[in-house]
């Protein structure tokens, strides 16, 4: 199953995600984020806006590639991939 790594800043709001291996089902980015939201309710409110798009100052990579579809989050995550969620330096 795909693994998820995220900036430690998010552990401040969701300490239940700290010090554990996070795995999600293979599928779209949207499905992966909602799987994390099941583990940590409210998680998507921090990385997505009210339209379900990635917040402007949040980056999400699948392995070494920044996701292309930041609106509908349709990029596919394969079973052996690692997803990285981190803050953009643009957000200050």
């Amino acid at each position: 199953m795909p693994r998820v790594e995220m900036t430690q800043h998010l552990y401040r709001f969701f300490p239940q995600l700290k010090n554990r291996t996070i795995t999600v089902p293979a599928g779209s980015v949207a499905e992966a984020l909602h799987a994390i939201n099941e583990m940590a309710p409210g998680f998507t409110d921090y990385v997505l806006d009210e339209h379900g798009a990635l917040r402007r100052h949040v980056n999400l990579c699948i392995n070494n590639t920044i996701v292309i579809d930041k609106i509908k989050l349709s990029d596919h995550i394969t079973d052996d991939a690692t997803v990285y969620i981190f803050q953009s330096l643009s957000g200050g």
Binding site: F13, G42, D45, Y46, D49, R55, H57, V58, G91
Partner: protein, 394 residues
Amino acid sequence: MSDMILLGTRKGTIIFDCINAKWRPRPIAHTGVPVCYAARDPRDGTLWASLDHGHWGPKLSRSRDGGATWVDISSLKYPAGARYIVKYLPTPDFNPESPSSQPEYNDATVLKIWNIAFGNANQPGRLYAGTIPGGLFVSDDGGDSWELNNPLWSHHSRGGDLFNGDASTANHWNGTPASIDYGVFEPGIHSIVIDPRDPDHIYVAVSTAGVIETTDGGKSWAGRNRGMLMDYLPNPESEWGHDPHFVTNCPSQPNHLWQQNHCGVFYSDNGAQNWKKVSMPDMGVNFGFPIVADDNDGRTAWVVPARADSERMAIDGGLFVARTTDGGQSWQSFRDGLPQDNAYDIVLRHGLDVSGDCLCFGSTTGNVYLSADRGETWQCLANNFPPIYSVRFG
């Protein structure tokens, strides 16, 4: 007099407690997170902070144990279909004919929760919040859920009902420089003034549009900008386009409203049916951001003047507070206890408050000053704080 002061700062929420007549700050809460507004609900003692996360989206934070613990709330969101007409920052190279002379639309996303206001005593759970881009939100369950006030969002002064079609009227709501941090140039609601006698009677102030009033609980809204004057428009008496920096009223005499505007200090003694410019530029009372009115006397108000829009700093390096007790016909300035050399402090729109005879303000330079004698003399409560966005007695 209140025994608590809440500061919203660039690096978190700081609460002062008055114990044995001494004001002491607690350790900072929301550490490292910009807090653009913090206040205490006088009805039930709940503390509120508006978090301005750079990355994770704006959030409200609520404490029901006096500040010992806080819980973030993410429920304030625009509904699907909420759109607004895009404005562009009028930079020197901006061509108003480009990219399009036709309205462009954006789906609304909450960028900043700029202000929180509390309903009247007979409305438990009623809260209001004003946002960039120009939404008034209402909660009736203590902030667990929020609803956008649609009549104001779809007001004819901003294009009409954009939920069900494109603009049917002209958009007179312009951007506020406070929105530039978010990469846009959109309006914001920073002042929400509720009539203590009638909870259906509310004013909001919009940068940049003006003051708008409802007398039917938000079902309909009307501009209340008669008498306002703008230095920066070809028609200084235009109905819209005003930049109120902050609007407040006298709780005991709610028909007395005060407005620190981009273009001066304005006063109304008839519920904003008419405004009168009461600036006194010769003594420095003209430009600034915050204004407060006395709890009991509607003719008494205080401002912390600044030089001008082009020089947003203390005048000639000396910080002072000005007070009127006659509806702005005359002003007195008070400097005792405030720095008079090399001071560059600016006090933002929510950075001054009053409680009885006590006033407090905080500056972007991180200084906090308190007066216990109606603004005549001041003591410094803190230096070296983060830039201060809001000051509210608890």
